[in-house]
């Protein structure tokens, strides 16, 4: 493996082989998502899957909220749905969201992991199994340690890992835990991650 590249454009070149981006966060992560998701370019070649810890209401407004602000189609994840490039999928509240072979999305009501359902670890580990080194994992602000092991799985499978820098996170427990477990992960501010996103390869649009 080559040394980690210092500037976002080098990341974007490596990203040509990324089929998916998985994003996880908890307390304070909405602010970061507000910067990150609108930065994703139209015609993105990768599918984007997001787990955010939220109070377990039956309906999540996230797809509507972000749909207006994004160049991409933002959806609530449905069971057995194929993951399409250029779509953003949010985990429904109360369910784990997994990537299954296909790659497709799958839901489960298995017990909470790290007191969380959906759990970021569950998404990240299943995505690492499925996508291997074609996966970019991004972990944001949060108040527990969910996501750290999942990020380690992505790194171990050869994927790339980014963590919101603890200094830039409203709640730094989650980034701190991830950086402790995955020293190879890069710590970036939301603006820096957005710059990486903005450079991601796109399909030529008609």
């Amino acid at each position: 493996m080559t040394a980690r590249a210092p500037d976002p454009r080098a990341d974007a070149q490596a990203a040509a082989s990324w089929d998916a981006i998985v994003i996880g966060g908890s307390s304070g992560a909405i602010d970061a998502l507000n910067v990150l998701l609108p930065a994703l370019p139209a015609g993105l070649r990768a599918g984007v899957v997001v787990v955010l810890h939220l109070p377990c209401d039956r309906r999540s407004l996230l797809p509507e909220i972000f749909g207006y602000r994004c160049a991409l189609t933002v959806l609530e994840a449905q069971d057995q749905q194929p993951i399409q490039p250029g779509n953003v999928y949010f985990a429904p509240p109360g369910y784990h969201l997994l990537v299954d072979r296909g790659p497709r999305l799958a839901l489960s009501i298995d017990p909470p992991v790290n007191f969380s359902r959906p759990s970021i670890d569950v998404l990240f580990q299943s995505a690492a199994d499925c996508y291997g080194d074609r996966l970019l994992g991004v972990l944001l602000s949060g108040a527990n340690e969910d996501g750290a092991e999942g990020l380690a799985a992505i790194q171990a499978a050869g994927g790339r890992t980014l963590v919101q820098s603890p200094e830039s996170a409203p709640v730094r427990t989650m980034p701190d835990a991830a950086l402790a477990l995955v020293p190879a992960a890069r710590a970036l501010t939301p603006d820096e991650i957005a710059a990486v996103f903005a450079q991601l390869p796109t399909r030529r649009l008609p």
Partner: protein
Amino acid sequence: MPTQNKAHIEDIEQRLLLDAIYHRYHYDFREYAQASLKRRLRTALGEFDCRTLSQLQDRVLHDPSVFTGLLQYLTVQVSDMFRDPSYFLALRSEVVPILRTYPSIKVWVAGCSTGEEVYSLAILLHEEGLLDRSLIYATDINPHALRAAEQGVFDLDRAAAFTANHAQSGGRSSLSDYYTARYGRVVFDKALREHMVFSDHSLSTDSVFAEVHLVSCRNVLIYFERDLQNRALGLFHDALVHRGFLGLGSRESVRFSAQADGFDDFVLADRIYRKKAEL
């Protein structure tokens, strides 16, 4: 060894293990959602002190008690009584008035696991004055779960959540009217059980066994891949009487299935469907 090879080998091992289980014990997990199974199998590896799924396969093939233990990892879903109260509220307000018109009522809870939903439905039917002429078929592939369901015994510390759900579901009585609490457990009234039939039944390999007015099968299909989902929905369609009802989990749907044309939306928000009239 590169990690990606490792993931690939694990996939092969998982496939072989599920084949072995099918040929040896006739339980068919081959069309279950593989990512969820993988998580459960990884947990089981630690429990059975195995390093790989291949090692586990060896033990499962040669020692039935290991299979019995593994089955608990592969199948048991923990649910709550009156989980998603709005589903039960919709059953009460929209489905019960139609069920009331039948002289006898048959309900099928498919994949009943440890029985939380079965007791919820029995209590709902009792509150609506219909239990005396109702029969609930409760089926699962896990004999241990079925036995637990038949006992109707739950941990006392779950009773508070059950009670809150029951109240939100439009419950007309107090949940505690239906159980006695002792030794840290709640034991549900035996009178409820007289209207339940517990039976071993597999949505993967068995066929329809009765005609029913309502099928409730919630958060079971999400553990299946599409073909098996279609098979199960086909069984439900065949089991239902003319214009019978089907209730699914809050994130399950007939819409993208092979049975999409067999059902009308009835209370879509709560995933209650109604069998289409046959032409």
